[in-house]
Amino acid sequence: MATKQTKTLATFMVAPSVIMLFLWMIVPLCMTIYFSTLRYNLLDPGNEAFVGLENYIYFLTDPDFFTALGNTLILVGSVLFITVVGGVLLAILLDQPFFGQGIARLMVIAPFFVMPTVSALIWKNLLMNPVSGFFAYLAKLVGVEPIDWLGDHALLSIIILVAWQWLPFATLILLTAVGSLDGERKEAAEMDGAGPISLFYYIILPHLARAITVVILIETIFLLSIFAEIFVTTGGGPGLDTTNIAFLVYSQALLQFDIGGASAGGIVAVILANIVAIFLVRMVGKNLDA
Protein backbone atom coordinates (compact mmCIF):
# COMPACT_ATOMS: atom_id res chain seq x y z
CA MET A 1 0.00 0.00 0.00
CA ALA A 2 2.57 2.47 -1.01
CA THR A 3 0.78 5.02 -3.11
CA LYS A 4 -2.38 7.02 -2.62
CA GLN A 5 -3.91 5.26 -5.57
CA THR A 6 -3.40 1.74 -4.21
CA LYS A 7 -4.81 2.87 -0.86
CA THR A 8 -8.02 4.18 -2.42
CA LEU A 9 -8.31 1.08 -4.53
CA ALA A 10 -7.81 -1.13 -1.50
CA THR A 11 -10.52 0.71 0.41
CA PHE A 12 -13.04 0.08 -2.36
CA MET A 13 -11.99 -3.52 -2.80
CA VAL A 14 -12.40 -4.51 0.83
CA ALA A 15 -15.55 -2.42 1.41
CA PRO A 16 -18.11 -5.13 0.49
CA SER A 17 -16.65 -7.74 2.79
CA VAL A 18 -16.21 -5.26 5.62
CA ILE A 19 -19.84 -4.17 5.28
CA MET A 20 -21.00 -7.79 5.17
CA LEU A 21 -18.99 -8.71 8.23
CA PHE A 22 -20.21 -5.62 10.04
CA LEU A 23 -23.87 -6.42 9.41
CA TRP A 24 -23.28 -10.03 10.26
CA MET A 25 -21.91 -9.03 13.65
CA ILE A 26 -23.92 -5.96 14.39
CA VAL A 27 -27.43 -7.33 13.93
CA PRO A 28 -27.19 -10.16 16.49
CA LEU A 29 -25.24 -7.91 18.81
CA CYS A 30 -27.90 -5.19 18.71
CA MET A 31 -30.65 -7.73 19.24
CA THR A 32 -28.83 -9.18 22.21
CA ILE A 33 -28.37 -5.76 23.70
CA TYR A 34 -32.05 -5.03 23.10
CA PHE A 35 -33.17 -8.27 24.77
CA SER A 36 -30.84 -7.66 27.68
CA THR A 37 -32.81 -4.59 28.63
CA LEU A 38 -36.17 -6.42 28.72
CA ARG A 39 -37.89 -8.48 31.25
CA TYR A 40 -38.34 -11.43 28.95
CA ASN A 41 -39.09 -14.84 30.39
CA LEU A 42 -40.40 -17.70 28.31
CA LEU A 43 -42.51 -18.94 31.20
CA ASP A 44 -44.28 -15.60 31.29
CA PRO A 45 -44.91 -14.72 27.65
CA GLY A 46 -46.51 -11.50 26.52
CA ASN A 47 -45.31 -9.57 29.52
CA GLU A 48 -42.08 -8.18 28.06
CA ALA A 49 -41.24 -4.81 29.47
CA PHE A 50 -38.28 -2.46 29.46
CA VAL A 51 -36.37 -2.75 32.71
CA GLY A 52 -33.16 -0.87 31.97
CA LEU A 53 -30.06 -2.36 33.55
CA GLU A 54 -31.90 -4.60 35.97
CA ASN A 55 -30.87 -7.80 34.18
CA TYR A 56 -27.22 -6.73 34.34
CA ILE A 57 -27.42 -5.92 38.01
CA TYR A 58 -29.08 -9.25 38.61
CA PHE A 59 -26.47 -11.15 36.62
CA LEU A 60 -23.45 -9.35 38.03
CA THR A 61 -24.55 -9.57 41.64
CA ASP A 62 -25.41 -13.23 41.35
CA PRO A 63 -22.79 -15.17 43.34
CA ASP A 64 -22.90 -17.80 40.59
CA PHE A 65 -21.42 -15.24 38.24
CA PHE A 66 -18.24 -14.92 40.24
CA THR A 67 -17.89 -18.67 40.56
CA ALA A 68 -18.35 -18.99 36.80
CA LEU A 69 -15.89 -16.18 36.14
CA GLY A 70 -13.32 -17.87 38.37
CA ASN A 71 -13.86 -21.21 36.67
CA THR A 72 -13.51 -19.61 33.24
CA LEU A 73 -10.20 -17.97 34.12
CA ILE A 74 -8.82 -21.13 35.75
CA LEU A 75 -9.86 -23.19 32.75
CA VAL A 76 -8.39 -20.79 30.18
CA GLY A 77 -5.20 -20.21 32.15
CA SER A 78 -4.48 -23.86 32.85
CA VAL A 79 -5.21 -25.02 29.32
CA LEU A 80 -3.03 -22.26 27.87
CA PHE A 81 -0.20 -23.21 30.18
CA ILE A 82 -0.42 -26.94 29.41
CA THR A 83 -0.78 -26.52 25.67
CA VAL A 84 2.00 -23.96 25.29
CA VAL A 85 4.53 -25.82 27.44
CA GLY A 86 3.52 -29.21 26.04
CA GLY A 87 3.35 -27.81 22.52
CA VAL A 88 6.87 -26.37 22.66
CA LEU A 89 8.31 -29.63 23.97
CA LEU A 90 6.42 -31.77 21.49
CA ALA A 91 7.31 -29.48 18.60
CA ILE A 92 11.01 -29.71 19.41
CA LEU A 93 10.73 -33.47 19.82
CA LEU A 94 8.89 -33.92 16.53
CA ASP A 95 11.41 -31.72 14.74
CA GLN A 96 14.22 -34.20 15.47
CA PRO A 97 14.74 -36.66 12.67
CA PHE A 98 13.71 -40.15 13.83
CA PHE A 99 12.20 -43.26 12.32
CA GLY A 100 8.44 -42.93 11.81
CA GLN A 101 8.50 -39.16 12.13
CA GLY A 102 5.66 -38.72 9.63
CA ILE A 103 3.37 -41.16 11.43
CA ALA A 104 4.20 -39.68 14.82
CA ARG A 105 3.36 -36.20 13.60
CA LEU A 106 0.05 -37.41 12.25
CA MET A 107 -0.82 -39.12 15.53
CA VAL A 108 -0.06 -36.00 17.53
CA ILE A 109 -2.16 -33.83 15.27
CA ALA A 110 -5.08 -36.29 15.18
CA PRO A 111 -7.03 -35.23 18.32
CA PHE A 112 -7.67 -31.88 16.70
CA PHE A 113 -9.90 -33.54 14.12
CA VAL A 114 -12.15 -35.15 16.73
CA MET A 115 -15.35 -33.19 17.40
CA PRO A 116 -15.53 -31.71 20.92
CA THR A 117 -18.69 -33.65 21.75
CA VAL A 118 -17.17 -36.91 20.58
CA SER A 119 -13.93 -36.44 22.45
CA ALA A 120 -15.86 -35.43 25.57
CA LEU A 121 -17.88 -38.64 25.32
CA ILE A 122 -14.76 -40.71 24.85
CA TRP A 123 -13.07 -39.18 27.87
CA LYS A 124 -16.19 -39.45 29.97
CA ASN A 125 -17.17 -43.01 29.17
CA LEU A 126 -14.03 -44.81 28.03
CA LEU A 127 -11.27 -43.14 30.00
CA MET A 128 -12.46 -41.37 33.13
CA ASN A 129 -15.39 -43.55 34.13
CA PRO A 130 -14.67 -44.70 37.70
CA VAL A 131 -16.00 -48.21 37.03
CA SER A 132 -15.39 -49.13 33.43
CA GLY A 133 -12.90 -46.47 32.37
CA PHE A 134 -9.33 -47.09 31.25
CA PHE A 135 -7.85 -45.00 34.07
CA ALA A 136 -9.84 -47.01 36.61
CA TYR A 137 -8.51 -50.19 35.00
CA LEU A 138 -4.95 -48.93 35.32
CA ALA A 139 -5.53 -47.91 38.92
CA LYS A 140 -6.89 -51.35 39.76
CA LEU A 141 -3.95 -52.94 37.99
CA VAL A 142 -1.50 -51.25 40.35
CA GLY A 143 -3.87 -51.78 43.26
CA VAL A 144 -5.03 -48.28 44.11
CA GLU A 145 -8.57 -47.02 44.51
CA PRO A 146 -9.89 -45.74 41.12
CA ILE A 147 -10.49 -42.00 41.03
CA ASP A 148 -13.92 -40.67 40.17
CA TRP A 149 -12.47 -38.08 37.86
CA LEU A 150 -15.57 -36.23 36.78
CA GLY A 151 -17.15 -36.51 40.22
CA ASP A 152 -14.32 -35.54 42.54
CA HIS A 153 -11.99 -33.53 40.29
CA ALA A 154 -14.47 -32.20 37.78
CA LEU A 155 -12.70 -28.97 36.81
CA LEU A 156 -9.33 -30.72 36.57
CA SER A 157 -10.90 -33.36 34.33
CA ILE A 158 -12.33 -30.69 32.05
CA ILE A 159 -8.94 -28.99 31.93
CA ILE A 160 -7.23 -32.26 30.96
CA LEU A 161 -9.83 -32.97 28.32
CA VAL A 162 -9.68 -29.51 26.75
CA ALA A 163 -5.88 -29.43 26.91
CA TRP A 164 -5.83 -32.76 25.08
CA GLN A 165 -7.96 -31.21 22.37
CA TRP A 166 -5.89 -28.08 21.97
CA LEU A 167 -2.40 -29.51 22.36
CA PRO A 168 -2.32 -30.55 18.68
CA PHE A 169 -3.12 -27.03 17.54
CA ALA A 170 -0.34 -25.55 19.63
CA THR A 171 2.06 -28.28 18.50
CA LEU A 172 1.23 -27.74 14.85
CA ILE A 173 1.81 -23.98 14.94
CA LEU A 174 4.98 -24.32 17.02
CA LEU A 175 6.31 -27.15 14.87
CA THR A 176 6.32 -24.93 11.80
CA ALA A 177 8.05 -22.24 13.82
CA VAL A 178 10.72 -24.63 15.10
CA GLY A 179 11.23 -25.86 11.54
CA SER A 180 11.81 -22.33 10.31
CA LEU A 181 14.76 -21.78 12.65
CA ASP A 182 17.83 -21.18 10.52
CA GLY A 183 20.19 -24.17 10.77
CA GLU A 184 23.29 -21.96 10.60
CA ARG A 185 22.08 -20.03 13.64
CA LYS A 186 21.87 -23.25 15.64
CA GLU A 187 25.32 -24.21 14.40
CA ALA A 188 26.69 -20.81 15.35
CA ALA A 189 25.32 -21.29 18.86
CA GLU A 190 26.84 -24.75 18.91
CA MET A 191 30.24 -23.31 17.97
CA ASP A 192 29.72 -20.69 20.68
CA GLY A 193 29.53 -23.55 23.15
CA ALA A 194 25.80 -23.56 23.88
CA GLY A 195 24.62 -26.93 25.19
CA PRO A 196 21.12 -28.27 24.60
CA ILE A 197 19.59 -26.29 27.47
CA SER A 198 21.27 -23.00 26.58
CA LEU A 199 20.37 -23.58 22.97
CA PHE A 200 16.74 -24.00 23.97
CA TYR A 201 16.65 -21.06 26.32
CA TYR A 202 18.68 -18.50 24.38
CA ILE A 203 18.03 -19.43 20.75
CA ILE A 204 14.94 -21.59 20.26
CA LEU A 205 12.58 -20.02 22.81
CA PRO A 206 13.09 -16.43 21.62
CA HIS A 207 12.60 -17.66 18.06
CA LEU A 208 9.28 -19.21 19.11
CA ALA A 209 8.02 -16.11 20.92
CA ARG A 210 5.94 -14.94 18.03
CA ALA A 211 4.35 -18.33 17.39
CA ILE A 212 3.58 -18.71 21.10
CA THR A 213 1.84 -15.35 21.02
CA VAL A 214 -0.30 -16.46 18.13
CA VAL A 215 -1.19 -19.72 19.88
CA ILE A 216 -2.17 -17.89 23.07
CA LEU A 217 -4.33 -15.35 21.28
CA ILE A 218 -6.18 -17.85 19.13
CA GLU A 219 -6.68 -20.40 21.91
CA THR A 220 -7.97 -17.77 24.31
CA ILE A 221 -10.71 -16.77 21.92
CA PHE A 222 -11.96 -20.34 21.75
CA LEU A 223 -11.30 -21.34 25.34
CA LEU A 224 -13.34 -18.47 26.77
CA SER A 225 -16.42 -20.02 25.22
CA ILE A 226 -15.88 -23.74 25.93
CA PHE A 227 -19.31 -25.29 26.12
CA ALA A 228 -19.81 -28.66 24.44
CA GLU A 229 -17.23 -30.43 26.60
CA ILE A 230 -18.88 -29.24 29.81
CA PHE A 231 -22.37 -29.91 28.54
CA VAL A 232 -21.54 -33.49 27.59
CA THR A 233 -19.46 -34.47 30.62
CA THR A 234 -20.50 -32.70 33.80
CA GLY A 235 -23.40 -30.42 32.89
CA GLY A 236 -21.70 -27.66 34.86
CA GLY A 237 -21.61 -29.66 38.06
CA PRO A 238 -21.18 -31.02 40.56
CA GLY A 239 -22.80 -27.92 41.99
CA LEU A 240 -21.22 -25.09 40.06
CA ASP A 241 -17.75 -26.66 39.96
CA THR A 242 -17.45 -26.67 36.18
CA THR A 243 -19.81 -23.88 35.23
CA ASN A 244 -18.06 -21.25 33.17
CA ILE A 245 -19.59 -18.06 31.83
CA ALA A 246 -20.78 -19.68 28.62
CA PHE A 247 -22.46 -22.45 30.53
CA LEU A 248 -23.98 -20.02 33.01
CA VAL A 249 -25.55 -18.04 30.16
CA TYR A 250 -26.94 -21.25 28.74
CA SER A 251 -28.37 -22.41 32.04
CA GLN A 252 -30.02 -19.05 32.60
CA ALA A 253 -31.55 -18.93 29.17
CA LEU A 254 -32.65 -22.46 28.66
CA LEU A 255 -32.90 -23.96 32.11
CA GLN A 256 -34.51 -20.94 33.73
CA PHE A 257 -36.12 -19.64 30.49
CA ASP A 258 -34.84 -16.14 31.25
CA ILE A 259 -33.95 -14.66 27.85
CA GLY A 260 -33.41 -11.17 29.22
CA GLY A 261 -31.00 -12.35 31.89
CA ALA A 262 -29.15 -14.63 29.47
CA SER A 263 -28.73 -11.79 26.98
CA ALA A 264 -27.28 -9.61 29.68
CA GLY A 265 -24.94 -12.49 30.57
CA GLY A 266 -23.98 -12.79 26.92
CA ILE A 267 -23.08 -9.14 26.69
CA VAL A 268 -21.08 -9.40 29.89
CA ALA A 269 -19.23 -12.36 28.37
CA VAL A 270 -18.46 -10.36 25.23
CA ILE A 271 -17.10 -7.49 27.29
CA LEU A 272 -15.03 -9.88 29.40
CA ALA A 273 -13.59 -11.53 26.31
CA ASN A 274 -12.60 -8.12 24.99
CA ILE A 275 -10.95 -7.18 28.26
CA VAL A 276 -8.98 -10.43 28.27
CA ALA A 277 -8.04 -9.94 24.61
CA ILE A 278 -6.82 -6.37 25.14
CA PHE A 279 -4.89 -7.50 28.18
CA LEU A 280 -3.29 -10.38 26.27
CA VAL A 281 -2.45 -8.32 23.22
CA ARG A 282 -0.79 -5.74 25.46
CA MET A 283 1.09 -8.39 27.34
CA VAL A 284 2.35 -10.59 24.53
CA GLY A 285 1.50 -8.56 21.43
CA LYS A 286 4.83 -6.76 21.52
CA ASN A 287 6.33 -9.98 20.24
CA LEU A 288 4.30 -9.62 17.09
CA ASP A 289 6.04 -6.57 15.73
CA ALA A 290 9.59 -7.72 16.48
Binding site: R185, A188, A189, M191, G193, S198, A290
Partner: protein, 338 residues
Protein backbone atom coordinates in the same frame (compact mmCIF):
# COMPACT_ATOMS: atom_id res chain seq x y z
CA UNK B 1 48.86 -21.82 18.07
CA UNK B 2 46.67 -23.12 15.31
CA UNK B 3 48.22 -25.86 13.24
CA UNK B 4 45.59 -27.94 11.49
CA UNK B 5 46.44 -31.24 9.86
CA UNK B 6 44.05 -33.46 7.94
CA UNK B 7 45.02 -37.10 7.47
CA UNK B 8 43.08 -39.19 4.96
CA UNK B 9 39.85 -37.42 5.86
CA UNK B 10 36.82 -38.79 4.03
CA UNK B 11 33.13 -38.03 4.13
CA UNK B 12 30.05 -39.90 2.98
CA UNK B 13 26.54 -38.44 2.95
CA UNK B 14 24.54 -41.65 3.11
CA UNK B 15 25.96 -43.67 0.23
CA UNK B 16 27.38 -40.69 -1.58
CA UNK B 17 31.12 -40.22 -1.27
CA UNK B 18 31.64 -36.48 -1.23
CA UNK B 19 35.25 -36.39 -0.05
CA UNK B 20 37.27 -39.53 -0.92
CA UNK B 21 40.48 -38.85 1.02
CA UNK B 22 42.14 -35.55 1.80
CA UNK B 23 45.57 -34.88 3.27
CA UNK B 24 46.36 -31.30 4.11
CA UNK B 25 48.66 -29.37 6.42
CA UNK B 26 47.79 -25.85 7.46
CA UNK B 27 50.65 -24.18 9.33
CA UNK B 28 50.05 -21.92 12.29
CA UNK B 29 49.25 -18.38 11.18
CA UNK B 30 48.61 -19.30 7.55
CA UNK B 31 45.76 -17.84 5.57
CA UNK B 32 44.50 -20.77 3.51
CA UNK B 33 41.77 -20.42 0.92
CA UNK B 34 39.68 -23.30 -0.41
CA UNK B 35 38.49 -22.73 -3.96
CA UNK B 36 36.78 -24.99 -6.43
CA UNK B 37 33.65 -25.28 -8.52
CA UNK B 38 30.24 -25.34 -6.87
CA UNK B 39 29.48 -28.63 -5.13
CA UNK B 40 33.11 -29.79 -4.93
CA UNK B 41 32.99 -30.12 -1.15
CA UNK B 42 34.55 -26.87 0.12
CA UNK B 43 31.85 -26.18 2.68
CA UNK B 44 31.76 -29.81 3.69
CA UNK B 45 35.50 -29.85 4.33
CA UNK B 46 35.26 -26.67 6.39
CA UNK B 47 32.37 -28.07 8.40
CA UNK B 48 34.33 -31.25 9.03
CA UNK B 49 37.15 -29.17 10.48
CA UNK B 50 34.67 -27.15 12.55
CA UNK B 51 33.04 -30.32 13.84
CA UNK B 52 29.61 -29.50 12.45
CA UNK B 53 29.74 -32.74 10.43
CA UNK B 54 31.13 -36.09 11.51
CA UNK B 55 34.00 -37.48 9.50
CA UNK B 56 33.54 -40.88 7.87
CA UNK B 57 37.23 -41.69 8.17
CA UNK B 58 40.66 -40.22 8.81
CA UNK B 59 41.99 -37.87 11.47
CA UNK B 60 41.83 -34.13 12.05
CA UNK B 61 44.65 -32.81 14.22
CA UNK B 62 44.59 -29.36 15.77
CA UNK B 63 47.95 -28.62 17.39
CA UNK B 64 48.76 -32.33 17.18
CA UNK B 65 45.62 -33.39 19.07
CA UNK B 66 43.09 -35.56 17.29
CA UNK B 67 39.77 -33.69 17.57
CA UNK B 68 37.56 -35.99 15.49
CA UNK B 69 35.56 -37.02 18.55
CA UNK B 70 35.39 -33.51 20.04
CA UNK B 71 32.25 -31.34 19.76
CA UNK B 72 32.61 -28.03 17.87
CA UNK B 73 32.89 -25.85 20.97
CA UNK B 74 35.83 -27.90 22.30
CA UNK B 75 37.94 -27.47 19.18
CA UNK B 76 38.77 -23.85 19.85
CA UNK B 77 37.74 -22.67 16.39
CA UNK B 78 35.46 -19.82 15.36
CA UNK B 79 33.31 -19.80 12.27
CA UNK B 80 31.83 -16.96 10.22
CA UNK B 81 28.85 -18.11 8.23
CA UNK B 82 27.66 -16.97 4.83
CA UNK B 83 24.27 -15.98 6.28
CA UNK B 84 26.05 -14.33 9.27
CA UNK B 85 23.83 -16.45 11.56
CA UNK B 86 23.49 -13.67 14.12
CA UNK B 87 20.99 -14.06 16.96
CA UNK B 88 18.20 -11.68 15.93
CA UNK B 89 16.71 -11.10 19.37
CA UNK B 90 20.00 -10.07 20.97
CA UNK B 91 21.79 -6.76 20.69
CA UNK B 92 25.11 -6.61 18.88
CA UNK B 93 26.83 -6.57 22.27
CA UNK B 94 25.05 -9.71 23.43
CA UNK B 95 25.64 -11.42 20.12
CA UNK B 96 29.35 -10.94 20.52
CA UNK B 97 29.29 -11.82 24.21
CA UNK B 98 27.25 -14.99 23.81
CA UNK B 99 30.17 -17.38 23.34
CA UNK B 100 32.01 -15.94 26.34
CA UNK B 101 28.88 -16.14 28.46
CA UNK B 102 28.49 -19.79 27.49
CA UNK B 103 32.09 -20.36 28.51
CA UNK B 104 31.15 -19.06 31.96
CA UNK B 105 33.40 -16.00 31.89
CA UNK B 106 32.69 -13.25 34.44
CA UNK B 107 30.88 -10.10 33.37
CA UNK B 108 33.78 -7.68 33.72
CA UNK B 109 36.11 -9.70 31.47
CA UNK B 110 33.33 -10.20 28.94
CA UNK B 111 32.73 -6.44 28.77
CA UNK B 112 36.42 -5.78 28.33
CA UNK B 113 36.75 -8.25 25.48
CA UNK B 114 33.57 -7.13 23.74
CA UNK B 115 34.65 -3.50 23.91
CA UNK B 116 38.05 -4.42 22.53
CA UNK B 117 36.50 -6.34 19.62
CA UNK B 118 34.08 -3.48 19.02
CA UNK B 119 37.02 -1.11 18.77
CA UNK B 120 38.98 -3.28 16.33
CA UNK B 121 35.95 -3.64 14.07
CA UNK B 122 34.56 -0.16 14.63
CA UNK B 123 31.18 -1.36 15.91
CA UNK B 124 30.85 1.40 18.51
CA UNK B 125 27.99 3.33 16.96
CA UNK B 126 25.62 0.39 16.72
CA UNK B 127 26.68 -1.86 19.58
CA UNK B 128 23.27 -1.64 21.26
CA UNK B 129 21.21 -2.25 18.16
CA UNK B 130 19.79 -5.54 17.02
CA UNK B 131 20.97 -7.31 13.84
CA UNK B 132 17.70 -6.50 12.07
CA UNK B 133 18.59 -2.81 12.20
CA UNK B 134 22.00 -3.23 10.56
CA UNK B 135 23.19 -3.23 6.96
CA UNK B 136 24.78 -6.31 5.40
CA UNK B 137 28.31 -5.04 5.89
CA UNK B 138 27.66 -4.15 9.52
CA UNK B 139 26.16 -7.58 10.16
CA UNK B 140 29.23 -9.18 8.66
CA UNK B 141 31.42 -7.14 11.00
CA UNK B 142 29.36 -8.28 13.98
CA UNK B 143 29.73 -11.89 12.85
CA UNK B 144 33.49 -11.41 12.66
CA UNK B 145 33.41 -9.73 16.06
CA UNK B 146 31.65 -12.72 17.50
CA UNK B 147 34.37 -14.91 16.05
CA UNK B 148 37.34 -12.92 17.34
CA UNK B 149 36.30 -12.41 20.99
CA UNK B 150 36.69 -16.09 21.63
CA UNK B 151 40.36 -15.86 20.68
CA UNK B 152 40.23 -19.07 18.67
CA UNK B 153 43.11 -21.16 17.42
CA UNK B 154 41.82 -20.64 13.90
CA UNK B 155 39.06 -18.82 12.05
CA UNK B 156 36.85 -20.58 9.55
CA UNK B 157 35.05 -18.49 6.94
CA UNK B 158 32.45 -19.92 4.58
CA UNK B 159 31.95 -17.47 1.73
CA UNK B 160 31.57 -14.59 4.16
CA UNK B 161 31.40 -11.87 1.55
CA UNK B 162 29.13 -13.40 -1.05
CA UNK B 163 26.04 -11.53 0.17
CA UNK B 164 27.68 -8.12 -0.11
CA UNK B 165 27.79 -5.77 -3.08
CA UNK B 166 30.99 -5.42 -5.08
CA UNK B 167 32.34 -2.25 -3.44
CA UNK B 168 31.70 -3.48 0.09
CA UNK B 169 33.23 -6.81 -0.81
CA UNK B 170 36.51 -5.13 -1.71
CA UNK B 171 36.47 -3.15 1.54
CA UNK B 172 35.69 -6.17 3.72
CA UNK B 173 38.33 -8.18 1.91
CA UNK B 174 40.91 -5.61 2.91
CA UNK B 175 39.60 -5.58 6.47
CA UNK B 176 39.87 -9.33 6.76
CA UNK B 177 43.39 -9.13 5.39
CA UNK B 178 44.23 -6.44 7.97
CA UNK B 179 42.71 -8.54 10.69
CA UNK B 180 44.89 -11.45 9.72
CA UNK B 181 48.01 -9.31 9.75
CA UNK B 182 47.06 -7.97 13.15
CA UNK B 183 45.96 -11.19 14.88
CA UNK B 184 48.30 -13.57 13.04
CA UNK B 185 45.80 -16.35 13.67
CA UNK B 186 45.32 -19.24 11.28
CA UNK B 187 42.45 -18.62 8.89
CA UNK B 188 40.70 -21.00 6.55
CA UNK B 189 38.53 -19.29 4.04
CA UNK B 190 36.12 -20.78 1.51
CA UNK B 191 35.24 -18.83 -1.60
CA UNK B 192 34.54 -19.26 -5.25
CA UNK B 193 35.75 -15.78 -6.01
CA UNK B 194 39.08 -15.80 -7.89
CA UNK B 195 40.11 -12.37 -6.71
CA UNK B 196 39.41 -13.08 -3.04
CA UNK B 197 41.40 -16.28 -3.28
CA UNK B 198 44.40 -14.70 -5.03
CA UNK B 199 44.54 -11.59 -2.86
CA UNK B 200 43.88 -13.04 0.59
CA UNK B 201 45.63 -16.37 0.54
CA UNK B 202 49.07 -17.35 1.69
CA UNK B 203 48.18 -20.72 0.23
CA UNK B 204 45.34 -21.85 -1.96
CA UNK B 205 43.78 -25.31 -1.98
CA UNK B 206 42.11 -26.08 -5.29
CA UNK B 207 39.40 -28.68 -4.78
CA UNK B 208 37.63 -30.68 -7.42
CA UNK B 209 35.05 -33.35 -6.66
CA UNK B 210 36.36 -33.72 -3.12
CA UNK B 211 40.00 -34.08 -4.14
CA UNK B 212 42.84 -31.64 -3.66
CA UNK B 213 44.04 -30.78 -7.16
CA UNK B 214 46.84 -28.54 -5.95
CA UNK B 215 48.00 -26.82 -2.78
CA UNK B 216 50.34 -23.88 -3.07
CA UNK B 217 50.86 -20.15 -3.02
CA UNK B 218 48.64 -18.08 -5.35
CA UNK B 219 51.48 -17.29 -7.73
CA UNK B 220 52.63 -20.92 -7.74
CA UNK B 221 49.20 -21.93 -8.89
CA UNK B 222 49.14 -19.19 -11.46
CA UNK B 223 52.59 -19.83 -12.87
CA UNK B 224 52.88 -23.59 -12.62
CA UNK B 225 49.51 -25.28 -12.37
CA UNK B 226 49.87 -28.99 -11.82
CA UNK B 227 47.18 -29.92 -14.33
CA UNK B 228 44.68 -28.62 -16.80
CA UNK B 229 41.95 -28.27 -14.15
CA UNK B 230 43.98 -25.92 -11.97
CA UNK B 231 45.24 -24.07 -15.03
CA UNK B 232 41.69 -23.46 -16.16
CA UNK B 233 40.34 -22.64 -12.73
CA UNK B 234 42.94 -20.14 -11.52
CA UNK B 235 43.19 -16.92 -13.48
CA UNK B 236 40.56 -14.66 -14.90
CA UNK B 237 39.69 -14.61 -17.74
CA UNK B 238 40.32 -18.34 -18.09
CA UNK B 239 43.35 -19.83 -19.81
CA UNK B 240 42.95 -20.72 -23.49
CA UNK B 241 43.43 -24.39 -24.33
CA UNK B 242 44.61 -25.20 -27.83
CA UNK B 243 44.44 -28.59 -29.46
CA UNK B 244 45.15 -29.92 -32.93
CA UNK B 245 47.52 -28.53 -35.52
CA UNK B 246 48.97 -25.74 -33.42
CA UNK B 247 49.51 -27.98 -30.38
CA UNK B 248 51.27 -30.61 -32.49
CA UNK B 249 53.96 -28.05 -33.16
CA UNK B 250 54.90 -28.45 -29.48
CA UNK B 251 54.56 -32.29 -29.69
CA UNK B 252 51.79 -32.46 -27.04
CA UNK B 253 48.03 -33.02 -27.27
CA UNK B 254 47.12 -29.75 -25.59
CA UNK B 255 48.81 -26.48 -24.86
CA UNK B 256 47.48 -23.69 -22.72
CA UNK B 257 48.12 -19.97 -22.88
CA UNK B 258 46.67 -17.28 -20.64
CA UNK B 259 44.84 -14.38 -22.30
CA UNK B 260 47.44 -11.95 -20.95
CA UNK B 261 50.29 -13.92 -22.55
CA UNK B 262 49.06 -13.65 -26.10
CA UNK B 263 50.78 -10.94 -28.09
CA UNK B 264 48.52 -9.12 -30.52
CA UNK B 265 49.29 -7.25 -33.68
CA UNK B 266 47.07 -5.67 -36.26
CA UNK B 267 49.72 -6.08 -38.99
CA UNK B 268 50.65 -9.34 -40.71
CA UNK B 269 53.52 -11.09 -38.90
CA UNK B 270 55.30 -14.38 -39.52
CA UNK B 271 54.07 -17.55 -37.78
CA UNK B 272 51.27 -15.72 -36.03
CA UNK B 273 47.77 -17.13 -35.58
CA UNK B 274 45.22 -15.33 -37.68
CA UNK B 275 42.02 -14.42 -35.84
CA UNK B 276 38.87 -12.41 -36.37
CA UNK B 277 37.61 -10.22 -33.53
CA UNK B 278 34.21 -11.20 -32.20
CA UNK B 279 33.54 -9.03 -29.18
CA UNK B 280 35.82 -6.39 -27.74
CA UNK B 281 35.26 -5.36 -24.12
CA UNK B 282 36.89 -2.02 -23.36
CA UNK B 283 37.33 -1.67 -19.61
CA UNK B 284 39.69 1.28 -19.79
CA UNK B 285 42.55 -0.33 -17.92
CA UNK B 286 42.28 -3.47 -20.00
CA UNK B 287 40.74 -4.64 -23.21
CA UNK B 288 39.35 -8.16 -23.44
CA UNK B 289 39.01 -9.53 -26.95
CA UNK B 290 37.03 -12.63 -27.78
CA UNK B 291 38.38 -13.76 -31.12
CA UNK B 292 37.80 -16.61 -33.52
CA UNK B 293 41.20 -17.97 -34.55
CA UNK B 294 41.85 -19.97 -37.70
CA UNK B 295 42.23 -23.74 -37.00
CA UNK B 296 41.84 -23.13 -33.24
CA UNK B 297 38.45 -21.70 -32.43
CA UNK B 298 37.48 -19.31 -29.66
CA UNK B 299 40.31 -17.53 -27.84
CA UNK B 300 40.36 -14.81 -25.23
CA UNK B 301 43.01 -12.12 -25.41
CA UNK B 302 43.78 -9.57 -22.75
CA UNK B 303 45.51 -6.37 -23.72
CA UNK B 304 46.69 -3.85 -21.20
CA UNK B 305 45.22 -0.39 -21.81
CA UNK B 306 43.26 0.61 -24.89
CA UNK B 307 43.41 -1.20 -28.20
CA UNK B 308 41.48 0.21 -31.05
CA UNK B 309 39.88 -2.80 -32.71
CA UNK B 310 36.26 -3.64 -33.22
CA UNK B 311 34.00 -6.43 -34.39
CA UNK B 312 35.17 -8.15 -37.58
CA UNK B 313 38.76 -6.85 -37.59
CA UNK B 314 41.54 -9.30 -38.39
CA UNK B 315 44.33 -9.58 -35.79
CA UNK B 316 47.53 -11.61 -35.55
CA UNK B 317 48.34 -13.45 -32.32
CA UNK B 318 51.73 -14.65 -31.08
CA UNK B 319 51.88 -16.70 -27.86
CA UNK B 320 54.64 -15.94 -25.36
CA UNK B 321 56.58 -19.22 -25.68
CA UNK B 322 57.98 -18.99 -22.14
CA UNK B 323 54.50 -18.77 -20.62
CA UNK B 324 53.10 -21.68 -22.61
CA UNK B 325 51.72 -24.61 -20.60
CA UNK B 326 52.00 -28.13 -22.06
CA UNK B 327 49.57 -30.87 -21.04
CA UNK B 328 49.68 -34.61 -21.73
CA UNK B 329 46.76 -36.82 -22.70
CA UNK B 330 45.56 -37.06 -19.08
CA UNK B 331 45.60 -33.33 -18.63
CA UNK B 332 48.73 -33.32 -16.44
CA UNK B 333 51.33 -30.60 -16.94
CA UNK B 334 54.52 -31.65 -18.71
CA UNK B 335 57.46 -29.83 -17.20
CA UNK B 336 60.47 -31.77 -18.41
CA UNK B 337 59.70 -31.55 -22.11
CA UNK B 338 61.35 -28.23 -22.79
Amino acid sequence: MGRIVLEKVSKYFGDVLVIPSIDLEVEDGDFVVFVGPSGCGKSTLLRLIAGLEDTSGGRILIDDVDVVAEPPAKRGLSMVFQSYALYPHMTVRNNIAFGLKMAGMDKASIDKKVNHAAKILDLGSYIDRRPGQLSGGQRQRVAIGRAIVREPKAFLFDEPLSNLDAALRVQMRLEISDLHNELKTTMIYVTHDQVEAMTLADKIVVLNAGNVEQFGSPLDLYNSPRNKFVAGFIGSPKMNFIEGKHAEKYKVPTVGIRPEHLGINTKQSVGAWIAKVGIAEHLGSDTFLYVDAEDIGQLTVRVSGELNVSHGDIVYLTPDETRLHRFDGDGMTITAAK
